[in-house]
Symmetry: C2
Subunit: 321 residues, 2 copies
């Protein structure tokens, strides 16, 4: 069996199927160079990473035989694509395999935060409802019909979010670098979208150009009735600015599946009642994992057979082919 | 100003607008006969009730001048329509005014419970994610694409649930006493629907014929991968059978906005991690309250002007006109 290094932390069950065909070297979240002796790493030709995990030239150079980086999931923003290209390392991902699951979670977060679902459940379970205890969090909130949903990014995930949101009798608009052939209004900038919308859905592919693109000024545009939903990458949002905006009620609330530093979050963030937080589980459904594993297997099988990756990271993302 | 008795418990803000035009006698959840002397009640011609609150002949007879019962909301299942008809009391409601809000909450409950949203949020906030603590509740669950959604009841709310659910790439079918002109598969019985579906959405109008219609046998048909969502009335579900089904994993989970005895719930129910509970807030959005108040005002204004109610409880529900 060919050796494959597990570069990020993955639950065992997630990789069990791949482990039937490959010998997996799993450092379980520790630095692989500290877990495995150099001799054992010298012939590792392929690794599996979560695309958001930082993977730079140093790591590549610790694996002299490395020729393939296979990302489990859609993202590959943690991979230094230039460094990989310079070393003749191909990079693959699992495009669109998790789009429905991620879009579903975006909607779940939006509906939960705008309807105060977590405080509502606590209100029932604590007995406060039975005691008719007044709760400011139980005040009626605006509903969906006519609500303006701004989708930032019109890839597979953005499209699926837009289609779902529209079914709730909302108005949907989007911003993306380029216009797409979709039945939603296009706004010319993220600023214009944030200004227009009541809910800003961040579904953009993360990268250096989107780092902290949702900052203090953008949150002010979203405004006191506005909600931020992020299922993309934590890096797209300036988390300190978000904490400040939640503290001084510059925005109404947030639903976040991703964070700047995972799996740790600032205490200031986890203390808000008007946020819903999930542990980066956007793509975390059984079907979505099967689909992502299919992509990972197909990429590994092709690579070890000396063929081109069926799911390469797209051209123009810095990778030479 | 004409006197109007507030028969159920409503937050003050909810009735403020109506209070500008009518003199509201509000017993704040206590028995009105204990709060107001008979002399003060002798000329009350109209009352406002939450339709689910029991309102029988006794209460009517304590109000000798009563000629109109106006329900705030869609339901009127608590009103003894025969007793009202015998006394020449007209009954009105707020049809469809809250349908979008209720359907939205049904979807919120479904998405939250099937994605384990509450345990996920706790997993982040407790620091268990940061500590990489394993959690069985964080295992991937089946996603929406291909999921079978069974809608029980095809009124305004059922239709809106179906339209929303379909946008999540699900299959939607329904059962209702009669077939409707809708693009969803019709199943000939609730038994067949429960057998077929993965998520059973109870959106039926409550009444004597639907009392405990979701019982132990129905929950067995729903099965161990199945979820129950109820945004209709607590009486439609045998709550003790539901608790038993959740205890022995006959079904996978439940999302409930309504309960057999509100606002109290059995401790056995509030202890489950795989349920999401909300305090009967289906119609609880700002727009929906405005729309329901519009109906209440229109009914009261017409009644006091000696005209027919614009929003009477439908014929065939036992009311003479």
């Amino acid at each position: 069996m060919s050796k494959v290094l597990i570069y990020s932390r993955f639950p065992k069950a997630m990789l069990a199927r791949i482990g039937e065909r490959y010998e997996l070297l799993d450092s379980k979240g520790q630095r692989f160079t500290e877990v495995f002796p150099a001799a054992q790493l010298s012939d590792v030709q392929a690794l599996i990473s979560a695309g958001g995990t930082a993977l730079g030239a140093d790591a590549m150079d610790a694996l002299p035989a490395l020729k393939a980086i296979v990302c489990y999931g859609t993202g590959y923003d943690g991979v230094d694509l230039r460094a990989a290209a310079e070393r003749g390392i191909v990079v693959g991902n699992s495009p669109a395999a998790n789009a429905a699951a991620v879009a579903d979670l975006a909607m779940t977060l939006m509906l939960a935060v705008t309807r105060n679902l977590l405080p509502a459940d606590r209100y029932v379970r604590s007995g406060d409802w039975a005691a008719a205890k007044p709760s400011p969090l139980m005040r009626p909130q605006p509903g969906n019909p006519g609500r303006r949903i701004g989708v930032y990014g019109m890839g597979e995930i953005g499209r699926k979010i837009a289609a779902r949101a529209a079914a709730f009798e909302t108005e949907v608009a989007y911003y993306s670098r380029s216009r797409h052939d979709v039945p939603y209004r296009y706004l010319p900038s993220l600023e214009a979208l944030a200004e227009w919308c009541d809910v800003l859905m961040v579904a953009v592919r993360a990268g250096a150009d989107t780092h902290h693109i949702v900052d203090a000024a953008m949150l002010r545009r979203l405004g006191p009735e506005g909600y931020l939903i992020n299922i993309s990458r934590g890096s797209a949002v300036d988390e300190q600015a978000l904490i400040a905006a939640l503290t001084d009620k510059t925005i109404a609330g947030a639903g976040l599946d991703v964070f700047e530093t995972e799996p740790r979050q600032p205490d200031a963030l986890t203390a808000f009642p008007n946020v819903v937080l999930t542990p980066h589980v956007g793509g975390h459904t059984t079907e979505s994992h099967v689909a992502m594993q299919d992509c990972v297997m197909a990429n590994l099988d092709a690579f070890f057979a000396g063929k081109a990756l069926p799911y390469p990271v797209p051209l123009g993302s810095g990778q030479r082919v």
